[in-house]
């Protein structure tokens, strides 16, 4: 259980995290989502005390991380895969971290096996690919068998096999009743992994809801209707409460009614329909819509339609 209360982090000129309140509960994967620079990593660093909050508080299982007697048994953190000395072997890195809590070599070899690092465990970390570094970071996080895991962009740099593996791994951890806070700037990744989303933009919370609710709020289903009787049909549909737009002269984009209902209304009014296509709003679009105003660095000249 992770709880943030009015958590704020100011750096000299910027406010990275601006008074956010949220919680990550046991038994589910909480997705921490937002564009680059939204404050995700800073928040995660504050959870384990690497950054100090300017104001507000963040606790793990009821108390600040640093006040736990056995911190790495409480929280496993993969914050950045480069937090390793390159000259040391992966196994020695794990042994050193484990020793602080008197965790022995057997557990170290166990997490090496769990994360598939057996073949490189005695090699220097300097030669590791980003993917192997991520696995080593995950192995470090798992050393203490913690009930809470915070993973900052864990699939970054993994090959497709690794991505699927992390996804299933993370789902499995949550199914065991653990608290998992997972960050990503990719909605598609979250859609497949998270149960609950906390969406950040410019240090503030834009949305904090179940994935299904966020989808529903994004407007549900849009139906494209191709018809020569656009004016007639639009009037009839609007009378039934639909939202209508005309992307093309003979094409209606209908919100708020499903395709079956639209067909019935068209028949009652004698409107001819050439085509009737429902489009589910993707989580990606929901996310784009939510964060459009909060992206720090807009790329110029890419109209939103291009992403459809």
């Amino acid at each position: 259980m992770i709880e943030a209360q009015s958590l704020t982090k100011r750096f000299s000129t910027t406010t990275a995290v601006d008074g956010i309140t949220f919680s990550a509960r046991p038994g589910r994967v909480t997705g921490f989502l937002g564009p680059n620079g939204a404050g995700k990593s800073t928040t995660m660093r504050m959870i384990v005390g690497l950054d100090r909050p300017s104001s507000g508080s963040i606790t793990v299982n009821g108390r600040p991380y640093a006040e736990h007697t056995a911190p790495i048994h409480e929280v496993g953190a993969l914050l950045d895969a480069t937090a390793v000395s390159g000259g040391r072997s992966a196994r020695n890195h794990l042994l050193a971290v484990a020793a602080t809590h008197r965790i022995g070599a057997r557990r170290v070899d166990e997490v090496i096996r769990l994360t598939g690092l057996e073949s490189v465990a005695r090699k220097r970390v300097r030669g590791f690919s980003l993917g192997m570094g991520q696995r080593l970071g995950l192995a470090t996080a798992l050393l203490g068998d913690p009930a809470t895991l915070i993973l900052d962009e864990p699939v970054n740099g993994l090959d497709p096999d690794g991505v699927v593996w992390v996804r299933q791994f993370v789902r499995g951890l949550a199914a065991e009743g653990r608290t998992v806070l997972l960050s990503s700037h990719l909605m598609s990744e979250m859609a497949q992994t998270a149960d609950h989303l906390v969406i950040l933009g410019r240090g503030r919370i834009i949305a904090d809801a179940a994935v299904t609710d966020i989808l529903a709020d994004a407007g549900g289903t849009t139906v494209a209707v191709r018809t020569p009787d656009g004016g007639l049909l639009a009037t009839a549909l609007e009378a039934h409460g639909a939202g209508i737009s005309f992307p093309e002269p003979d094409l209606l984009s209908v919100n708020g009614l499903d395709s079956r209902r639209i067909a019935e209304i068209a028949a009652q009014n004698g409107a001819v329909i050439y085509e009737l296509t429902p489009y589910a709003a993707s989580l990606e679009e929901a996310y784009m819509a939510l964060t459009r105003d909060d992206v720090e660095y807009h790329s110029a000249g890419t109209p939103r339609e291009a992403t459809r």
Binding site: L50, Y65, A70, T82, R88, H93, A99, T100, R171, D195
Partner: protein
């Protein structure tokens, strides 16, 4: 969304992590020992320390004699001072090695990012800094003791061949020889403190070596009396001169200029050995206090 079909409680078996020990200083010391020994450069530096202590000690011993006195006989005090002189010159080179190593041990973690793993495991930070300093100091001391255990018998044997009979019941001899090692270890800790404050290898090494070597030499160029005498007295507070005080032998005038009255410049201070040791300890304490304050305050 994939619903996820985990096999209960086997995704991550608790294994040995089921037995939970809290953070302990013992664990942190063990952790820091694993870190120190698992980096290759550590052992190269310590090998250099050992080779230089033995090499310089034996070389200086073989080139020390009182043959130039002709028929005159050196005093026993002079011979003791000669033996000390042969043994301690290596320390002035060794402080350069531990000066670099002391910075590397701590600032290296900041350079690689390892410090974030370290502080995630020990979020209170200060104990781990002290554990790291302790492991570094103890290992340096042990390597130094080993170096001296090899060098002292060789030096005494070589000096005997040059007609210098070293009396081993001279407490000043042992204080100076052990003092040279204490000096090296404390300079290592001074460098460690600088590394912890600057968190940067290049800057840390530059400042540490500048403090140990360059600044006292620059001040030492100033000679004479009056206001410049004050500067010379101030330069006594630099680690290298504190180390000189700690490793001084009272028979030195009999070794450097036998038969002549010792020359002492009016107003120029001479520190006692214990004052030298105390001065070095003060350097370490002040730097560590600053490092601890900054450590608590700064983001890692």
């Amino acid at each position: 969304m994939i619903a996820g079909t985990p096999t209960p409680s086997t995704v991550v078996p608790a294994g040995d992590a089921a037995i939970r020990h809290g953070l302990s200083l013992r664990g942190m010391i063990r952790s820091e020992w694993i870190k120190l020994r698992s980096i290759g450069s550590t052992w190269w530096m310590y090998a250099a320390l050992l080779v230089m202590t033995v090499g310089i000690g034996t070389q200086m011993s073989s080139s020390t004699s009182f043959a130039w006195l002709g028929d005159e006989q050196p005093t026993q005090m002079g011979m003791q001072a000669a033996a000390v002189n042969a043994m301690i010159l290596g320390a002035d080179i060794n402080v350069l090695v531990v000066g670099v190593l002391g910075v590397l041990v701590i600032a290296g973690e900041y350079n690689t990012g390892m410090i974030r793993s370290t502080f995630t495991a020990v979020p209170r930070r200060v104990p781990v800094l002290l554990a790291k300093a302790m492991v570094f100091a103890v290992v340096t001391f042990l390597v130094g003791i080993l170096s001296l255990a090899i060098t002292v018998p060789m030096s005494i044997g070589i000096l005997a061949g040059n007609g210098i009979d070293v009396r081993l019941d001279d407490p000043h001899y042992w204080r100076a020889v052990i003092g040279s090692l204490v000096y090296v270890v404390l300079v290592g800790l001074i460098a460690f403190g600088i590394g912890a404050i600057l968190r940067n290898i290049a800057g840390g090494i530059a400042l540490a070596l500048g403090l140990v070597l360059v600044a006292p030499i620059a001040l030492g160029l100033v000679s004479g009396v009056g206001p410049q005498l004050v500067l010379r007295n101030v330069s006594l507070l630099f680690p290298i001169n504190l180390g000189r005080a700690l490793t001084a032998h009272p028979g030195y005038p009999d070794f450097a200029a036998p038969g002549e009255p010792p020359v002492r410049l009016e107003g120029l201070l001479v520190l006692e050995p214990w004052q030298g040791a105390l001065g070095l300890v003060v350097w370490v304490v002040v730097l560590f206090a600053a490092a601890v304050v900054l450590l608590k305050r700064r983001d890692a």
